[in-house]
Symmetry: C2
Subunit: 255 residues, 2 copies
């Protein structure tokens, strides 16, 4: 990790043009993200203490604090008073909750049962290549899975992953794993999902989907198209979800 930071980036002598002014704490934030991206500290682990980081970067503790504050606000880090600051992991209900917006109309959230129906390696279509920032024809892993709650089929997900990042991924591996998919990706492939964008639409269930979900054809289905990003805002997953929303709904907060 580099030590000396520019306190006056791009504004030394003649040009006080601060068009690209970048505060110290933001530079430190970037360095921390890079470290996370490199895997210097694994999900679930503690990062060095604030005083330690302050020493390392040669800035005051308050400056490190502000960088960490922002990363905690973005949910990349998790602060726990008295214990330390930890790398977020999908092996926590709290994080999982942010990525599964489906909630029951009544009662408590049930754990989902996941069943992988298909997992094959294919070549990226133009559309998928564009979204995942690959070249057309690049290898891609295509997964179809069914999520059930209390044995009621509720979600069919079609998932596309860059083949280069998920070598050796198979239906057997996936079905042998208990727990959230993103937790699996994290521990088995070192890929942390950090953020996602979703587009939600109402569509009709086609023959395929209606069969899998056990509903009559043309039942209204909530279609959720998701692009997930890892640390440096690199897209690493395209997911098309089909939700039955008679007993469940997609929850959202507007702030």
């Amino acid at each position: 990790m580099p030590e000396a930071l520019a306190r006056k980036p791009l504004s030394a002598a003649s040009t006080p043009v601060s068009a690209a002014f970048r505060p110290l704490y933001r530079q430190i934030k970037d360095l921390l993200v890079q470290a996370l991206d490199r895997g210097d500290w694994k999900p679930g682990e503690a990062i060095p203490s604030e005083t330690e980081l302050a020493l390392r970067f040669q800035v005051s503790q308050g400056t490190v604090r502000k960088a960490v504050d922002e990363l905690a606000a973005e949910n990349l880090l998790l602060r726990r008073q008295g214990k330390g600051t930890f790398v977020s992991t999908h092996h926590e209900a709290r994080v999982r909750f942010r990525f599964l917006r489906l909630a029951p109309n009544q009662g408590e959230v049930q754990p989902a049962e996941s069943q992988v129906l298909d997992c094959r390696r294919v070549r990226a279509s133009a559309e998928i290549a564009r979204v995942l920032e690959l070249k057309g024809g690049d290898p891609v892993v295509a997964i179809r899975r069914l999520l059930s709650f209390a044995s009621v089929p509720t979600v069919v997900d079609d998932i596309y992953l860059p083949g280069a990042l998920f070598k050796g991924l198979s239906a057997e591996l996936l079905n042998g794993y208990r727990g959230p998919l993103y937790g699996f990706f994290e521990t088995e492939f070192g890929i942390s999902m950090v953020r996602a964008e979703e587009k939600v639409r109402a569509v009709s269930a086609d023959a395929d989907i209606s069969t899998l979900l056990g509903v009559v054809q043309d039942t209204p289905i909530l279609k959720v198209d998701r692009i997930s990003f890892t640390y440096a805002d690199r897209p690493v997953e395209l997911r098309m979800g089909h939700y039955v929303t008679d007993r469940y709904h997609y929850r959202n907060s507007l702030n």
Copy 2:
């Protein structure tokens, strides 16, 4: 505005039990929210400067800063370097964007044309009373409106408001107003929508809705049930939206 703040709330002598420890900046934050709720400063106006507030509350500027930081993060306030800190208003595209999640599949966001179809005063059903924290039978304003983009009908909203807060609201008034509904509520009734919770489902268009939206019956419709809250987390609007999502989608970010 009260001046003296408890620096050690509920933990004076014998019991250092900080079960209810409340930092200074949070107390100040609460005072600021109360002031906003009272309407001490109107949407769009500047609040006093940080140094002014620090003086007023008898704390350091940094403590005021932290309170304002949180309110800015929650979008109640808007900081503008060199100019001041302003009360958020729905008369800004930036704020409106947060509350209208519908975006076109292609092209830029168009301004919506709003047409109020109905506005009447009714008595709250048990369900509506529960959500709006009223008594069953309390007066409620019921509005039905149609949103169109480039003359294409796209959204039907059924809106319910507490009658006591929206006296004199009528279809004429509503239709005479250009701009976002929440901006209208803000300037005409002093009600600021600050936060909302939504539940999204896929349903079939019934006869009513399909006619209004110009689609065939049983077309899949995105149904968006929203509860909006004003400053002290008081619910002040129940809204049931019906979106046609062939050319538009509901966008969302997972962080």
